[in-house]
């Protein structure tokens, strides 16, 4: 119990001390900043409260774009993984090419999507779709193919057909990887949605809010928006983690004791 308490009190204490130092203006003194350049926490909170309805509206725009794009991108990525599993020889090479998409900077994608789509929402969804495909394709492919030894042989000895092998062996085996990809993708999707709003023609959304407020030199509003974006990111992540726990109850990765026991013992 005390151990648990320490795990909470230490980081909490550090966080409070950090905010206090910030509030008292020690960072300003240290970094030679004027108060208007770096607003103190109380000012950010005041702004947050004052602008809450508008900020929530902007948050809704960004989150809905991020979610739709993430679902589209993850679905495409999963289909790619399934196709790659069906055609192993050509599929794996295609997967490597897809994973190169990972390296394309979001900032270069958003002006392209600006050309392709008329509205800010479509553009945002386009960017998020592209950046979330690769993680799902790679993780799902790994789950569909890294089967436990002999399980495929067992299925073959039962003369199981392709669809049976897929739905009873490969798909359940891929679920943990799918959730790993979703957890990676939800953060990526939020980042991509916000960054694409910096350069889109849209007049709403968290990214637009941050940029617009900074342009008007309203630093506290910018920080308030960043706070909301962070809270939204953590919340969405926790929602996915919660669904993962419910769906994967049967899986060993959700049970620390089993994982500990299943760890191979090295001999010699």
């Amino acid at each position: 119990m005390t151990e648990k308490l320490k795990n909470i009190l230490w980081p909490l204490g550090f966080g409070v001390a950090f905010l206090a130092v910030w509030q008292l203006g020690w960072f300003h003194a240290l970094l030679n900043l004027a108060p208007f350049q770096l607003p103190v926490p109380s000012e950010i909170v005041d702004t947050l409260v004052a602008k809450f309805p508008k900020a929530m509206n902007d948050c809704g725009v960004t989150v809905s774009g991020a979610l739709v794009g993430m679902i589209l991108g993850s679905a495409i990525g999963f289909v790619v993984a399934v196709v790659a599993t069906m055609f192993p020889k050509w599929g794996y090479g295609g997967l490597i090419v897809i994973s190169a998409l990972n390296a394309i900077p979001i900032v270069a994608l958003s002006p392209i999507m600006n050309r392709w789509f008329a509205t800010g929402m479509e553009q945002k969804i386009g960017v998020v779709t592209v950046v979330t495909m690769a993680a799902m394709a790679i993780n799902a492919y790994r789950g569909l193919n890294d089967l436990r030894p002999f399980s495929l042989d067992l299925m073959k000895s039962y003369a199981a057909k392709g669809p049976t092998v897929f739905f009873h062996l490969r798909l359940p085996n891929a679920l943990p990887g799918v959730f790993t990809a979703l957890k990676i993708n939800i953060t990526t999707a939020m980042i991509a949605a916000i960054v694409s709003e910096y350069f889109a023609a849209s007049t709403s959304g968290l990214g637009f809010g941050i940029k617009d407020n900074l342009r008007k030199a309203e630093m506290a509003s910018g920080w308030a928006y960043i706070t909301i974006a962070s809270v939204a990111g953590v919340f969405l992540f926790l929602v996915i983690a919660f669904i993962e726990r419910r769906v994967l109850k049967w899986h060993a990765s959700q049970n620390p004791e089993v994982v500990e026991k299943r760890r191979p013992v090295k001999v010699g």
Partner: protein, 261 residues
């Protein structure tokens, strides 16, 4: 098997290039889209623009890439040191670990304009933001590496009464290197992205500035050439880390764990 994978990859790249050409033709000739040249220009015209403007593109790209590299190295070093400190001291781990976890869930790149506004120096903010974004995956992955050191090996060294520096030099640090690289592979393209983002927020030079000016000036050839250049920079950063890993950790099978993010 190895050559086979490369061959298949090559076929895919050629097929994608052909699909691009065909798509561009379809858009321009098939649909008579007046915006075809800006939506999807012919790949060969993009490539020829890149060759014709190789000097200016390379200059802009190298400014951005250099700052990204400095920030990347700085962030990786700080992240590694924090991971070492966290593995040595339970208290430091207690303080920093929750923040490390939360930081992976928040849209860190959203902070870029705020930092840029605060620092007001494009080189410094490029380095700062690239370092900041590199820091988290490196620290988290390295700590994961320290934690997964076999208990028996640690106990063996303890039973030899080996001091902390010896334990780290002989066991912990070598063991953590593959995990460090897993973090570096995630961080490398991100640091390039961060650097380009700072370009586009209002710097004076760099590939992002070139991209933005071409976009606003309606110069679609240069725009597309800049987009492809920045994509290549991202791929290049990943490949550099991959090659470094092959040299430093030759025993690690990299094919199985690349591009986790």
């Amino acid at each position: 098997m190895k050559t086979n994978v490369w061959g298949v990859g090559l076929v895919w790249i050629v097929a994608l290039a052909l699909a691009w050409e065909w798509g561009a033709q379809l858009l321009a000739v098939g649909f008579h889209d007046p915006m075809a040249a800006s939506k999807l220009p012919y790949l060969h015209s993009v490539v020829s623009t890149m060759f014709n403007n190789a000097d200016s593109l390379f200059e802009a790209a190298s400014v951005t890439f250099t700052q990204a590299t400095i920030g990347f190295a700085l962030g990786a070093a700080i992240g590694y040191v924090l991971a070492v400190l966290m593995s040595v001291s339970r208290t430091i781990e207690r303080i920093a670990f929750p923040y490390l976890i939360i930081s992976q869930m928040i849209p860190v790149l959203g902070l870029a304009p705020i930092i840029f506004n605060l620092v007001r120096d494009m080189n410094a903010s490029r380095i700062l933001i690239a370092a900041y974004i590199t820091f988290f995956p490196v620290a988290a992955n390295t700590l994961g590496g320290f934690r997964s050191v076999d208990r028996e090996k640690r106990q063996l060294l303890d039973s030899y009464a080996a001091g902390l520096p010896t334990v780290y030099a002989k066991l912990m640090i070598p063991f953590s290197v593959p995990h460090l690289f897993a973090g570096l592979k995630i961080a490398a393209p991100l640091s390039v992205t961060a650097s380009i983002l700072v370009d586009m927020l209002g710097s004076k030079n760099g590939i992002g500035v070139k991209l933005l000016y071409a976009l606003y000036g309606g110069n679609m050839d240069i725009f597309w050439a800049s987009v492809v250049t920045s994509a290549l920079m991202g791929v290049l950063s990943f490949l550099i880390v991959l090659v470094a890993e092959k040299i430093l950790v030759p025993w690690q099978d990299t094919a199985n764990q690349g591009g986790a993010r």
